[in-house]
């Protein structure tokens, strides 16, 4: 075990997988100098410029090259600096990458990863650099989606994504790059599709993803002081979605609050709420509640961003409302 930051854990995963499989290559803006979020420093020194490619400022070119590289037999890891920029490359991501395996009858598979920073985190990046884009991607069948919440998962889930035979988008919350945590040394791989129950509880289930997992934990701490026992589940991946674990938990607690950073007018929490309302109906003691970001473009001012995004107090208010 080593105490690493999120960004160091990403670098550790890349180094682990590049050392293990020489077909793994990196491409993106400024990845050779180490990346603007410092997730790739030194990799070009160890693996050479043939495997760590700097690209022009064109997200379309990046994901298009990654697609071609994957078709050609490599296992590319493309960096999209800000997930907001997926907006410029949906044709390739949604229409090509997500559908190639299906439309070729399984003859062509694309073992590629697109990763990059996502979400707000109170850093004041503003409306075009702070969005939670994971729910955009979830609308497109054919893409796997991972959203790690801890340094350990930053390493394990990225390694797991790289070993997938199909395209995976990894959304790295930029508010977690600087957080530290224990990360297993050596080969550390987390398979996609298994949620993690951080703490067990009996009164309510709080489901979070990436940055909102910490919000759920903070809320659970305060609720414990009030005598309310909250179970906290980190979903870890949206596709595959670990519905079974959430249903198991709700069967015990009978109440569910889902915390999503993205705007509540749509989003993965709505999909999960609908599934639980259907398959878990007879276990519910209260309506499934969602605590989401407000449906507005994210403000750049820090205090306003805090106002818009979910926080522990709003989670606690939701729990009180249902008990």
């Amino acid at each position: 075990m080593a105490e690493l930051t999120g960004r160091d854990a990403i670098r550790a995963a890349l180094e682990q997988e590049m050392a293990r499989d020489e077909r793994v290559v990196l491409l993106g803006e400024d990845v050779a100098p180490g990346g603007v979020f410092k997730t790739t420093p030194g990799l070009v020194d160890r693996f050479g410029a043939e495997r760590v490619w700097d690209t022009p400022i064109s997200e379309q070119a990046i994901v298009g090259s990654a697609m071609g590289a994957a078709m050609g037999g490599l296992r590319p890891v493309a960096e999209i600096m800000f997930a907001d920029f997926y907006a410029t490359c949906w044709d390739l991501v949604a229409n090509e990458i997500a559908k190639t395996r299906y439309m070729t009858g399984g003859q062509v598979r694309l073992p590629l990863v697109v990763r990059g920073s996502n979400g707000g985190g109170g850093l004041g990046f503003g409306a075009q650099h702070s969005q939670s884009a994971e729910s955009w991607a979830m609308c497109v069948p054919g893409l796997k989606i991972a959203c790690p919440s801890t340094p350990s998962d930053f390493k394990g889930l990225l390694a797991g994504a790289i070993r997938e035979e199909d395209p995976v988008l990894v959304f790295e919350h930029k508010g977690l790059y600087g957080r530290t945590g224990e990360v297993p040394d050596g080969d550390h791989v987390v398979a996609l599709g298994e949620s993690h129950t951080l703490r067990e509880g009996s009164d309510v289930t709080l489901v979070g993803l990436a940055f909102t997992v910490g919000i759920c934990e903070a809320a659970a701490d305060q609720l414990a002081d009030e005598g309310i026992s909250a179970e906290v589940i980190d979903l870890r991946t949206l596709v595959p979605l670990d519905v079974a674990a959430v249903l198991r938990s709700v069967a015990t607690t009978n109440r569910l609050v889902i915390v999503e950073e993205g705007p509540g007018q749509l989003g993965w929490s709505a999909s999960l709420a609908a599934i639980v309302s259907d398959e878990g109906f007879d276990d519910l003691d209260a309506p499934v509640l969602r605590v989401c970001g407000a449906s507005v473009p994210l403000p750049a001012a820090g205090v306003l961003e805090e106002e818009v995004n979910p926080n522990a107090q709003r989670v606690i208010a939701a729990v009180r409302r249902m008990s």
Binding site: D285, P287, L289, V291, I316, A317, A318, R320, R321
Partner: protein, 448 residues
């Protein structure tokens, strides 16, 4: 700081009495939550909080205030309602909401007897917004029971657990948001009543996490028992009926010799089939008389006589410290044997708390028999909006004049209580005589 003003709960209302504040002074309340019980000239209704906030009461319980007068204020936004709360703000706080909710028919809660929740008390007034309720009278019992079509608000898991444990949701008091019956309420009822047949007392046991209510004691050391919803409904509807319905009663004595003889013959000759009870004969005789007396099978509503087509005779059944009135539908068309089978089934299901809303619905007349307790005669309270209720006493030997000489004959008294707005004295007398004649010539009941 929103004010809570005395709402106009009926067209004729000019002032109202604060019966009870359902939220204590200084407590926070959510928008749409039951706030205060207000007694009007017509009924007692629950008024919901028009906004969220901390309650400051200005008019105390028992006091009267004019429509529009300020009753309380709601300070600030008390319970941190998050962004999502707007979506459930649909619990309209205007005066229509209580009766709107009251008129909702049972959407699917299906298998349980349906009870009246707070607020379903506008019927009898002129403001009933539900056209259906004018054609389908509610099934509250006259001298006793109650139960109408209002949906029970209970969470899915509470419904499932209650069904598994045989707990009647209608007997529970919900402690969840807006009075929703939640899991802990069912668990408390189970804990309080290990025998499924015993009456659950919702306040008897709670989960440790729930705040323990202060023990209510009477000044003399006795205890104060909170009413279940059904008991609340019975109390309210009976007072309403007693206050509103101009009633009168008629009594006849029935010679039961022929009927008892017929029963004895049935008992001797029937195989496995249940022998119709005296009550079953009364149901059949009443049903045939109702068929011939449309206004006895009707309702006085909104200044009109509603003459119902089906003849459905409700039977008052004591159940779980409560009273239910399951209906024998189309009793005029059923044979005595079929009535006997149905009344046994209905009584059993009533005692088990397993009557369906359909079985509790739609009686057009009620029979209440206390004869099994040795009661000779009693006067029942009309079960509005039904026109009349028949109170049946015990069959007993009496010395009477018979064919010119004293004789000992089995006799039974029946007292009919009537709503004079629809059933007048002479009509009622003929109706009651028709029931008596049917019972005194019971072979007619086999043919009818």
């Amino acid at each position: 700081m929103p004010a809570v003003n005395m709402p106009r709960l009926s067209d004729s209302m000019e002032s109202g009495v604060i019966v009870s504040w359902l939220v204590s002074d200084g407590e926070s309340v959510e928008s749409g939550a039951p706030l205060v019980e207000i007694e009007t000239d017509k009924a007692t209704m629950v008024y919901e909080a028009p906004a969220a906030g901390v309650l400051r009461i200005e008019v105390q319980e028992g006091e009267t205030a004019d429509v529009g007068a300020q009753l309380a204020t709601l300070h600030g936004d008390a319970s941190g309602s998050d962004a999502g709360s707007a979506s459930d703000g649909g619990s309209a706080s205007d005066r229509g909401s209580a009766s709107d909710r009251g008129s909702a028919s049972d959407g699917g809660g299906g298998e349980k007897p349906v009870q009246v929740a707070e607020g379903a008390t506008t019927e009898g007034g002129s403001a009933d917004p539900d056209p259906k309720s004018t054609s389908e009278p509610a099934t509250a019992s006259g001298s006793n029971g109650a139960g109408t079509r209002e949906r029970i608000i209970a969470s899915p898991v509470a419904r499932r657990l209650a069904a598994q444990a045989g707990v009647d949701l209608g007997t529970l008091r919900g402690t969840g948001p807006r009075g929703r019956i939640v899991k802990r309420d069912v668990q408390a009822a189970q804990a309080a009543a290990p025998e499924p047949s015993a009456a659950p007392e919702a306040s008897a046991a709670r989960e440790p996490s729930a705040p323990e209510p202060p023990a209510d004691r009477v000044g003399d050391g006795g205890e104060v028992q909170k009413l279940t919803r059904v008991q609340q409904v019975i109390a309210r509807r009976m007072s309403e009926s007693h206050e509103v319905v101009p009633d009168f009663s008629l009594t006849v004595e029935v010679d039961m010799a022929a009927l008892l003889e017929l029963r004895a013959r049935m008992r001797a000759e029937a195989d496995e089939q249940p022998i119709p009870s005296v009550t079953d004969f009364v149901v059949k005789a009443s049903a045939l008389a109702l068929r011939r007396t449309p206004r006895a099978n009707g309702s006085y509503r909104d200044g009109a006589w509603q003459l119902h087509d089906p003849v459905s005779v409700g039977l008052a059944v004591a159940a779980q410290e409560s009273l239910l009135v399951p209906a024998v539908r189309d009793a005029d068309r059923l044979s005595l044997g079929e009535i006997a089978r149905r009344t046994r089934e209905l009584a059993r299901r009533a005692r088990d708390g397993r009557l369906t809303p359909a079985e509790l619905d739609g009686a057009t007349f009620t029979v209440s028999n206390l004869g099994m307790f040795g009661i000779d005669r009693f006067v029942a309270i009309v079960n509005a909006p039904q026109a009349a209720i028949l109170a049946v006493g015990a069959v007993g030997d009496r010395v009477v004049a018979h064919e010119g000489a004293p004789a000992i004959r089995p006799r039974m008294e029946m007292t009919l209580s009537c709503d004079h707005r629809i059933l007048y004295g002479a009509d009622a007398a003929q109706f009651l005589a028709a029931i008596r004649d049917g019972l005194q010539r019971p072979t007619r009941l086999l043919l009818g």
